[in-house]
């Protein structure tokens, strides 16, 4: 059974949302608010986001190099044993880097190929899962299948780099920058990947809703996500009372409140502490949250964790969930 054996992340220097709305995002402040501070108070209360990191996609090769070097140093794993490198998420992470070791500097530089060469991942196959927010969750689902058949380790890399400042602010979230890594082993030596499931929706699905489309989307999406979680647990003979903690995305506070309602669980069973500190980091959210949660508590032997993810892509939405079980006989992923 495959398991997550390592997770780490990098978040660039942070700025408060007040700093963002004082300058670059000022045009987005509604007329009803006469100052950025007042509007930011509204956002802090409705979205629960207080600060985000802002970095540069051109640093991605160096950041990934640092994260991978950290993994190799700690695990002492031979890079030749790595069977897959999955870049999950947004296209820009595949592009330019100003890393000095690169032979040429062009928008065509592909960071994963660079990492492949730099670290000697001679047996690793590269795979790009271009799914905005949930590529990293999909990759966990794929890892079990691929490694069970042929392979030893899969490295999953994902990044959130928002290219334009005015793209950071959506009505439902504020996106921050960050980079994350998972390493999955074919063997059961950490957090076992018990099961994975996903559901796809299209915009047409929303046509059934009455009233304000955005309001109803907000509710409707969480209904579907909750259905998926219940279904995955039922497939494994489990219920929500068996789940120790849910590791979600950091989209906003309301998503977690609705999830708790629709799942019928207390809000404190959803790890929500990072939303205010990072904003939404697309697929990096689950890496940040899993690592921080596991470092913050002692996980009981055999405890089940659930990762939940959603992705709003052009044309529709998807939801994913991964069921994990902490293997008590092995070390925690750090």
């Amino acid at each position: 059974m495959a398991s997550i054996i390592y997770t780490d992340y990098f978040i660039p220097e942070k700025v408060s949302i007040e700093q963002l709305f004082e300058k670059d995002l000022r045009p987005f402040i509604p007329e009803a608010y006469d100052s950025p501070v007042k509007y930011c108070q509204f956002l802090r209360e409705t979205l629960g986001i207080g600060e985000i990191g802002i970095g540069d996609v051109e640093d991605s090769a160096d950041i990934y190099s640092s994260l991978i070097a950290g993994f190799i140093k700690e695990s002492k794993i031979d890079p030749a044993e790595v069977s897959y490198i999955v870049t999950a998420g947004w296209n820009p992470l595949l592009q330019a880097s100003r890393n000095e070791e690169l032979d040429f500097y062009t928008d065509g530089v592909n960071v994963p190929y660079y990492l492949h060469k730099k670290f000697g991942f001679v047996n690793a196959k590269l795979l790009n899962l271009e799914h905005y927010c949930s590529g990293s969750t999909y990759a966990l689902g794929l890892a079990s299948s691929l490694l069970d058949k042929n392979g030893e380790y899969m490295i999953i890399l994902t990044a959130s780099f928002v290219p334009r400042i005015d793209n950071r602010f959506k009505f439902y979230t504020i996106c921050g920058d960050g980079v994350g890594i998972f390493v999955v082993s074919r063997r059961s030596v950490g957090l076992d990947i018990i099961d994975f499931d996903s559901v796809t929706m299209w915009h047409d699905s929303y046509n059934k809703y009455e009233g304000s489309p955005e309001r109803l989307k907000a509710f409707g999406r969480q209904f579907h996500a909750a259905d998926l979680v219940k279904s995955l647990l039922a497939q494994n003979g489990l219920t929500l009372s068996d789940v120790h903690m849910i590791i979600p995305h950091n989209v906003n506070s309301g998503v977690n409140y609705l999830s708790a309602k629709f799942l019928g669980i207390p809000l404190d069973k959803i790890f929500s502490e990072n939303t205010s500190k990072t904003g939404h980091l697309l697929g990096v959210d689950i890496m940040v949250n899993l690592k921080d949660y596991m470092n913050s508590v002692r996980i009981p032997d055999g405890a089940y964790l659930l990762i939940t993810a959603a992705s709003n892509d052009i044309g529709g939405s998807t939801f994913q969930t991964v069921l994990l079980r902490y293997n008590p006989n092995q070390s925690l992923p750090q």
Partner: protein, 84 residues
């Protein structure tokens, strides 16, 4: 508790926490709904605030998949909860 008292408390939450000042009206429900209908995340967080303010817990069945309570419906639900 009467509807007017509930609305008044909700207006206090909106002003104090979200910087939304609803002009004084005998019945402000329509003005409040205008804000909530256009901002789903305000609506959702206000539900959480209402639970805390009125010491009630909304049941999952008020969040029907395709019909979200209007403010009028919400007031009715709150009153029912308070009278239970």
């Amino acid at each position: 508790m009467k509807s007017a008292e509930i609305v008044s408390k909700i207006k206090t939450i909106l002003a104090g926490k979200y910087n939304i000042d609803i002009p004084y009206e005998e019945d402000s429900s329509r003005e409040i709904w205008a804000y909530l209908d256009n901002n789903p995340w305000l609506y959702i967080m206000l539900l959480k605030d209402i639970e805390s303010e009125f010491k009630i817990v909304f049941d999952i069945n008020i969040f029907d998949r395709y019909h979200i309570p209007t403010f009028e419906s919400l007031l009715t639900i709150i009153k029912e909860k308070l009278n239970m």
